[in-house]
Structures are given as C-alpha cells and as structure tokens.
Amino acid sequence: MRDDRQTIIDDDAELVASWRRGELASFEALVRRHQKRMLNIAFRITGDYEDACEVVQDAFFAAYRGIDSFRGSSRFSTWLTSITVNHSRNRHRQGRAKNRNEAYSLDCPADGTGSGPAREVPSPDPSALDRVERLDLHEKLQECVKALAAEFREAIVLRDLQDFSYDEICGILQIREGTVKSRLFRAREMVKDCLKRAVGVL
C-alpha cells in the first residue's frame, strides 16, 4: 500500500496557488491537465459520454467556485475527483429517475427518434445476438461495470480504471479502508462473473 498521506507531493500546487491569486490561465492549465481523467471517471460512472461532458463542466465550475474549501490536505486531483464523482453520482441518479418516470409515458411513445424513452423489446433481427457476441471485450467490460450498483462502480472505476490508491479512494468516497476493500472485492467478483457470462473464458 502506498503511503502518501504524510508527504503529499502535488504537481498542481503551484498552479493552484497561482489560480488562487487570480490567474485564470493557471486554472485553464489545470483544466487541460485534468479534464481527460475527470471525463473518463464521469463516463465510467454515468455510462454516457454526453452526460460525462456535462458532469466535467459542472465539476470544474464547482471547483472554481469552491476553491476556498480546498485546503491542500489532499492532492488537488483527489479533491477534483471527489467533486466529479459526486456530480456523476447525482447525474446517474437523475438519469435513472428520468428513465423510470418516462419509461411508461403514454403521451410520448418511443419512436426511436430519441425524443421518447427507448423501449426494451426483443430485437426481431436474428443477427442481434451475433452482434452482441462480436462486441468488443472492452465494451462488454463497460456494460458489466455499468450494471454494478453505484457504490461498487465508483470503487472499481477509481481503483482499477483510474489507479487511485486505497487512501485516495478513502478520501474521495469518504469511506474507511475496510469498506473500500470489501466494495472492491464485491465489485471485482461481480464484474468477473459478468464477463465470464459474456465471453465464456476470461
């Protein structure tokens, strides 16, 4: 286990300090540096690219407004990630609520144009199964992760996709290390089973 709690070496410290002094260019540099990672986190948690883009915008905006609450006790990236995860979680929740509310709307029947909710009906196309078979392993993995409950998904995204340390995950998700371990164990087991079902042999 990496122990970087005692000595936090933050590459962003200088930019953050400059931004605090009112340098907008420093903030822009931080955006450029972190937007990709934040977008990936948001994308893996929300499961939707457009939602992820909006989440990232909101997260950076929230970070800009809330810079005073960043005291430097953790890395800037960790702090920014926790904002992104929170926004992603909220977005995902809203999306699910929206789907649940609109799935059975009689006023707005699904017509495949995107205005109504997509109705899940067995595809009449016999080649659909083949298409699923041909799905890329990574896409299957994405589907498996997406199928996880939010708390497991967040843990596995942060640890296995973004390579955050256990300590950092504790800070981001505001949970104890034991909880991180158990969530990761459960999440990995579920993804493993999901993947086994999808591709047969790992």
């Binding site: 907008l24 450029r32 937007q35 990574h138 993995l141 256990y166 993947l195």
Partner: protein, 373 residues
C-alpha cells in the same frame, strides 16, 4: 483464517493492501487451495482487463466551454464588484463636492438661524444684555432713538448725578434694551417700506419704557408722539382702506406681519411686555389709560390664528401696537377703545376659547390689551 475469508481477501492481496501476516497466511492457503488459486487468477485477469480499458478522449471544445463558463462567472463577479465600487472612482469627487456644498449651505443656514436659537436658549440675563451691540452699528434712520435705549451706552453721555448708574439688573428690567433689535432685521434684509415702518412701531414701547429719570425721553417723546401720530394716521388709513377695500386691508396686515413676525429678538421679548406696564404709565405723557388687560386665547393652531386675531382687532377698531410671534407662543399688544372691547372679545371668542374671564369693567377711553395665544 478460513477459506471464505481468504477468498474475500484475495482482492486486497492483489493490490498488496494486506498486512505481512495476512499476506503470509494467504500465500500458505493458496499453496494448498487450488480453488482459491483459480479465483485469484480470474481476479487478476479481470483487473488486467479493466486496467486495459482504453480511455475516452475529451471533446476538443471541452476546455473552451469550461473556460467560457468560468469567464462568464468572473465577468459577472467583476460586474458586481464594479457596480459596488467602480462608481466610487468616478463619482467620488462629485459626491465629495456635493457634500462640501451641502456643508457650506448648512453652515450659512445655521449662521442665519443660529442666533435665534441661541437667544432662546440663553439664560435670561445674558439675553437681556445681548441686544446692545446692534445700536453700535450706525443706523442713519433713528440714531437718537436708539442711544438711550441701550443701557450701557446711554449713561456714558449723561452726568452720573442725573442718571444713577444703571446696574445690569436695571438694564435687564428695562425693556428699552430691546428697542434696537427690530431695526436689525430690516437692516440686514432689504425689504419694502411697510416692513421698515413696522419695527418703528415695535420699538415704541421700548422708548416709552425707558429708564425712569432719564432726561433723553424729552427728545424721545417728540419721536414717540410722531410715531404715534403716524400710527394713528396709518390706523385711520387702514380703517378707510378697509371700508373701501377689504382685500387691500388684508394685504396690508399681512405685510405688517411679515415685517415683524420672525424678527429674531422679538421672540425673546414677550415676557417683558407684561412685566413693566408701570413704566409706561409713569414715563408716558399720553392720556391716562386704564390698567392693561391680558387675554389668553386657546386656539387649535396658533400660527393660523394670527390673521384672524389681527383682523378681529382691526375690525373692532383696535390698533396693533406690537406683534410678538414666536414659535408656539404669540403675543399681540393692542390698544382698544373700552366701548368696543366686548365686540373684540366676541370676535376673539369666535376664533378660540378665552382661557380666563375678561373684566374690562371700569375701563374708559382707550386701554392696552395683550392678547396671548
């Protein structure tokens, strides 16, 4: 540790997030449990696949959009601060200038009104002595009249034997000390002729009530007589004017009021008018008059009653001798014929309520009446 526990720890073991003792125990178990070894291998492959998932690229516009959003925010924030503070930099000099102008105006306003306030607030003695300075100012119209009026300056011209030294208390008692002030008002503010005449009337009692034994009243008497004749003439003129034209009458009265009403020292004078009626009788060579009668009137609005009371007096054939209109207390000194007195009282009762019973029995000819309200 049991098999199930070991299985649960395999995930952390994979991340090297277990203690040394746990690690040793897990490895010991793995050596003998093929099931757990298989599970660990699956887990390793799953994690490897997960780590292998390619990252998505952010859209090229993302940074620009984020920064545009931030700049909007900054612009709004700056706009807010500009609204709050920027006007200061531009308008502050104007505001300061306006403030200075206001202060100067306020100061001059205070200068013109302050003496009035001071006189009212000052102790009685101080107030009595305050008026002498104005006579010192040369006033071409009536320099003789003013001279004896001022206590301290008059004795200087006369032998000490003739005139006993006037003590400050005597000065205080002598209403003569108030003679000059009414002239002050017209001197400072140029006004139409009627306003100049009004102070003369007002100053008359001061002349009449001069310090007893003073020789100068001889000259004063001439002046006073002159003033009286003038006043009588004016009274007659007013009467005839009234008969002819009521409107012009009212106008004349109004002018008279305007001339004396707000004279600063007039306010400080009223009490004296009642205190020394004897002086008047002693020094005055006028025909014997009955004892002055004081009438106190209760009205709702003292300021508004001024016109009505003055009109009542003039309609009843009375002559207004002196007007002392203060902030709340008003005093009108009039001369009225005894036979027309009930008529005046009846008129006054229509304006307000008489506070005490008026007894004019025994009065004959003309007598002094003080109307207070």
């Amino acid at each position: 540790m049991e098999h199930k526990e070991i299985r649960q720890m395999l995930s952390a073991y994979l991340d090297n997030a277990v203690s040394a003792a746990e690690k040793a125990e897990i490895e010991r178990h793995l050596a003998e449990c093929g099931n757990c070894r298989g599970a660990l291998a699956d887990l390793e492959r799953t994690v490897a696949h997960l780590k292998d998932v390619p990252e998505v690229e952010p859209p090229p516009w993302l940074t620009a959009k984020i920064m545009a959003h931030i700049r909007d925010e900054v612009g709004q924030k700056q706009g807010f601060w500009r609204r709050l503070f920027a006007p200061l930099s531009v308008k502050l000099p104007l505001e300061v200038l306006a403030l200075v102008c206001l202060c100067i105006t306020g100061y001059y306003l205070a200068q013109t009104t302050a003496p009035q306030m001071r006189l009212t607030d000052m102790p009685r003695e101080a107030r009595e002595e305050a008026p002498p300075p104005p006579p010192a100012q040369p006033k071409p119209e009536a320099p003789v009249r003013k001279a004896p009026a001022s206590g301290p300056s008059a004795p200087a011209k006369k032998p000490a034997a003739v005139t006993p030294p006037v003590s400050p208390s005597a000065v205080i008692k002598a209403p003569g000390g108030y003679a000059p002030p009414p002239l002050k008002a017209p001197a400072t503010t140029p006004a139409p002729a009627p306003i100049y005449r009004a102070p003369e009337i007002a100053s008359r009692p001061a002349v009449e009530w001069g310090v007893p034994g003073n020789e100068t009243p001889r000259r004063e008497e001439v002046q006073r007589e002159k003033a009286r004749r003038e006043m009588l003439y004016r009274g007659e003129a007013m009467k005839s004017a009234r008969e002819g034209n009521d409107a012009s009458d009212a106008m004349m009265q109004k002018k008279g009021v305007a001339g004396t009403q707000y004279s600063p020292d007039a306010v400080s004078r009223p009490p004296m008018g009642f205190a020394q009626p004897e002086y008047r009788r002693e020094s005055a060579g006028v025909t014997a008059r009955a004892k002055p009668v004081e009438v106190t009137l209760r009205v709702d609005d003292p300021a508004a009653a001024v016109d009505g009371i003055e009109e009542a007096v003039t309609r009843s054939g009375g002559r207004i001798i002196r007007r002392v209109y203060g902030g709340t207390d008003h005093l009108l000194s009039v001369q009225v014929e005894a036979r027309r007195f009930p008529e005046l009282i009846a008129r006054l009762e229509r304006i307000g309520t008489l506070r005490k019973p008026v007894d004019s029995a025994g009065a004959e000819g003309t007598f002094d009446l003080f109307i207070r309200w």
